[in-house]
């Protein structure tokens, strides 16, 4: 896949943190099968930090690498820090993504943010 960077290929080949946390504190989903990419992020939060993060991804090489990269970037960060992660940063961390993959597949940060917001909404509801 010459259009993908080595880093993308590495994450695609060995994706980190795959799975779904059964007792998640927050869940975020983006995408649908029509556009070709779906991501579901689940997180646990402890002391305002992302303790664990896992994802399930239906999608192309870029989508899988992006999910994996986001999970690595998010782990251990405070919620505020994690909310600062942008799709653009993720692409940069991956050594760039082909132009046509920037829109459809590069939604990992969005899914993460949704999971965090889900957690925050639940917290708020409980407090």
């Amino acid at each position: 896949m010459p259009q993908y960077s080595d880093k993308v290929m590495e994450h695609f080949t060995n994706p980190r943190n795959i799975g779904e946390i059964s007792e998640a504190d927050g869940t975020g989903e983006v995408g649908n099968p029509v556009c070709g990419d779906m991501m579901k992020f689940t997180i646990t939060v402890k002391d305002n930090r992302i303790e664990d993060v896992k994802y399930l991804t239906f999608g192309c090489g870029a989508a899988i690498a992006v999910s994996s990269m986001v999970s690595e970037m998010a782990k251990g960060k405070t919620l505020e820090e994690a909310l600062q992660i942008t799709n653009k940063q993720v692409a940069e961390e991956l050594g760039g993504l082909p132009g046509n993959k920037m829109h459809c597949s590069n939604l990992g940060a969005d899914a993460l943010h949704k999971a965090i917001e889900d957690y925050m909404a639940k917290e708020k509801a409980q407090s």
Binding site: F12, I18, E20, P33, C104
Partner: protein, 398 residues
């Protein structure tokens, strides 16, 4: 590393006999067929012979063969050329929803230029209905263009019936036979075709060598104007080496067709059975029998095609997919959509096409690899997890 090509319709190596036949026309017999001196003689003779061989492949007259540089060009010439020539007679054109983009995009453009275009739907196997064609034809209809077989799902159209309907109404019929020629018999006389597009690279001839067959009496405007090569229908110095290559490939394709297609279909069926046995949740796309002998198209439920393609590529297995991520236009296959396949199955489609290097011995490896890859990708698929939880509510179309 193993390299198992299961993507031969994307490209195939030239038959070595074809290369051998072409080579002398690059350097030794390099002349221009239009030259009045002796350097033009052998190229001119070779061009005549190549034209005869291409004509023979489709049972037509050599004078009807116009060499072009791609099936896309042939389709453009056939449709735009006829539309321009017949505009005074009418402005309605009928085609199908599963045509190649070199048909569909031409029709889109003609649509903007005042033509009315009817795209006939197909059923879940990919067939166009002769009855639907009959109903679509009006007094304004100047052309019907329906492919001989679909390059993606392999479905072979009932051309004879379709052409009969058009003939009855006196409407010329074009068929894009780029995917079919060399693999199923296409006889312009038996079928009654007026225009046929052919591409050499689909039967182990060179890329960039293609033809449009034009029945005597059908009038077209040229797309590329200039000199009067190809009876004034396609200007430009004749590409003798490539025409020679196409002629040789057509000859070999015609002579070997019976044996080759029986063998290939048998191998394809073995592969299909082995895959369906070894890998759960597969779905066959296209008609089980009325399909090109070298074509297999399956959807791998719950996973996306580019990821499949990449994982298989790592294992040395080369395939293509109708997923949006693998298309240059980032849309999933219009053909899979047209047969009514749900989006997630379209995204997970794999096109496996056989060719000269395909072997029985490779089947177990392919099955094992697809099994592993499907398992791995399913393990991270939200659709698969959902299915496991919710059971048959979202069961795959089996």
């Amino acid at each position: 590393m193993k390299k198992i090509n299961l993507d031969y319709t994307a490209a195939a190596p030239l038959d070595s006999r074809v290369v051998d036949k072409m080579i002398p026309y690059f350097s030794e017999h390099y002349g221009n067929p239009s030259s009045g001196h002796l350097l033009g003689e052998e190229p001119r003779r070779a061009l005549v012979q190549a034209r005869e061989e291409v004509a023979r492949l489709v049972g037509g007259d050599p004078s009807g063969v116009i060499f072009t540089a791609s099936a896309s060009e042939s389709n453009n010439l056939a449709i735009k050329g006829l539309a321009a020539a017949a505009r005074k007679k009418g402005t309605h054109i009928i085609s199908s929803a599963v045509e190649h983009f070199s048909v569909l995009n031409v029709l889109k453009t003609l649509g903007k230029e005042g033509f009315r275009v009817t795209l006939l739907p197909v059923d879940s196997d990919g067939f166009v209905s002769p009855e639907a064609l009959r109903e679509a034809i009006t007094d304004e209809t100047i052309l019907v263009s329906i492919q001989a077989a679909n390059p993606e799902i392999g479905t072979i159209q009932p051309l004879k019936e379709l052409v009969a309907v058009a003939r009855e109404k006196g409407v010329p019929f074009h068929s894009d036979a780029a995917a079919a020629a060399g693999w199923i018999p296409i006889d312009v006389e038996e079928l009654g075709l007026d225009l046929v597009s052919l591409a050499a690279d689909q039967f182990y001839g060179p890329k960039g060598a293609a033809a449009l067959y034009i029945r005597k009496g059908i009038r077209l405007r040229p797309l590329i104007e200039g000199g009067i090569q190809e009876r004034g229908l396609r200007a430009g110095t004749e590409n003798v080496p490539l025409a020679v290559g196409m002629g040789e490939a057509a000859k070999i394709a015609r002579e070997t067709m019976k044996e080759r297609t029986v063998e290939t279909a048998a191998l394809r069926d073995k592969l299909k059975e082995a895959l369906f046995e070894g890998v759960p949740y597969l779905h066959l796309n296209g008609h089980p029998e009325q399909r090109l002998p070298h074509n297999l198209n399956v959807s791998v439920q719950f996973v996306e095609g580019e990821a499949l393609l990449m994982r298989l590529n790592m294992a040395g297995i080369l395939v293509s997919s109708g997923s949006s991520c693998t298309s240059q236009a980032l849309k999933s296959s219009h053909v899979l959509n047209a047969i009514g396949l749900p989006p997630e199955l379209a995204q997970g489609s794999l096109l496996l096409t056989l060719g000269p290097g395909s072997k029985h011995e490779d089947i177990p490896y392919v099955v094992e690899q697809l099994k592993q890859v499907a398992e791995l990708l399913r393990s991270m698929s939200p659709l698969y997890h959902q299915y496991l939880k919710e059971g048959n509510r979202n069961a795959p179309v089996q």
